[in-house]
Assembly symmetry: C3
C-alpha cells in the first residue's frame, strides 16, 4: 500500500468558472502505477469546491444559474460589511458544495460513470491562480 500526492496548478476566470479535471486526474493515476485504491481530490481554499458533473456547455450555464439562485449575488451580507471583497456568496456556495471528493479506482481506472467528470468550481468573484491536491492511497 502506498500514498502518492500530486498537485495540479491552473488559472481560473472566477465567477463560477468550472474546470474539468478528469483527464489530468486520469493521467496522474496512470503515472502512479497504482491499480486499486481511493483518490481524494481536495480544493485548498474557502471560495472553491470540487464535485462531479456532466461537462456539457448547457449544464455549465445551468450550474452558474443555480448557484446564482441558491446564494444571490446581492446581499446585504455581513461578510461584505466586514471586508470590501464583496464575495460572501462565493464563500457560501463553496461551503455548500464542499472542498473534497473521494473517487475509487480499480484496474488502474477511476470508477466514474460514463458522463461523470471531476470538476473544480471557482466561486470567487475574480480570476485566481488555483491548485488541487490529488492524494492516491492504494496498491
Amino acid at each position: 500500500m502506498k500514498i502518492i500526492s500530486k498537485i495540479f496548478e491552473f488559472k481560473t476566470s472566477g465567477n463560477c468558472d468550472i474546470v474539468d479535471l478528469t483527464d489530468i486526474t486520469r493521467r496522474a493515476l496512470s503515472d502512479t502505477s497504482l491499480k486499486d485504491g481511493q483518490l481524494t481530490v481536495f480544493a485548498p481554499g474557502a471560495t472553491c469546491a470540487v464535485t462531479t458533473m456532466e461537462y456539457e456547455s448547457g449544464l455549465i450555464a445551468d450550474t452558474k444559474e443555480i448557484f446564482r439562485r441558491l446564494a444571490a449575488e446581492r446581499g446585504p451580507w455581513r461578510h461584505d460589511a466586514a471586508s470590501p471583497t464583496g464575495n460572501a456568496p462565493s464563500h457560501l456556495r463553496a461551503a455548500l458544495v464542499g472542498p473534497s471528493l473521494s473517487v475509487p479506482f480499480s484496474d488502474g481506472n477511476l470508477e466514474l460513470g460514463t458522463w461523470q467528470s471531476i470538476v473544480f468550481i471557482d466561486f470567487d468573484n475574480r480570476p485566481r491562480s488555483r491548485k488541487v491536491i490529488l492524494k492516491f492511497i492504494g496498491e
Copy 2:
C-alpha cells in the same frame, strides 16, 4: 492494511428515489473482516448522489420537496435545449449533494449516528439500474 472493493447493484424508480444502503454496507463490512479503517461510498453517475439521513417516511417526502425547491423541475434550462431528456435539474441536484461519502469504522462497525442511514438518491427523471462502489481501506 488492505483494500477491498464491493459493488452493489439495484434498481430505482428515479425522481428522487432514496435507497437506504446501510444494511447492505454493514453486511459488506462484516464480509471483509476488517476491523478499523475507512469506507468510501461512491455513486458512479452524473444524476445520482450519496449522503446520510434519517430514513423516515416523513423526511423522505420532505427531501423530495426540498430538492424540488432548490432546483425547480421547470426551467428553462440550457441542458434541456441541448438534449431531449429534460433532466437538467437531476444533474444540478446531483452535483450539489455530491457522489462520494467517507465513513470511518472501528471494531468492525460503521461509526454512524443512531438515526443516520447511508442513502443513495437517484435524481434522474426515470427508473434506472444503478450501482454503488464500496471501497474499504483498513486492517
Copy 3:
C-alpha cells in the same frame, strides 16, 4: 501505513452553531506523528454536518442566513407531523451539506488553504452534546 482514530467531544448551542475544528484537528494530526496521508472528518448524526469555510463572524452570520433560506424553518414538513421535534429543516440541511470531509496532509501539515477552516455545523434546533471522528490514514 497506519490507521489512527481520534474522537473529539464538545457541546453546541444548536440552531446552526458553527464550531471551528481546525486547531483540534491540527493537534490530533501532530499527536499521530504521521507525515503523509489523508484525514477523514466524520459527523455521526443526522442533523449535523462538516465542511470548510473562512471562520469570520460576518460569514458565520451569513451562513446561518443562507440555510434559513435554503430550508425554511416554517414548513409544513412531513417529518414534523410524524415527530414533535420540529426539526425537519435541521435534517434537510445536514443531508445537503453531508457528514464527511476528506483532507490530505503532507510533511505533517493539513493541506488547507490560508483562510480555510474545518467546521462542524450543528443544524439541530436545540443544544447538543456532539462528537466528531477523525480517522487518519498515512505514514
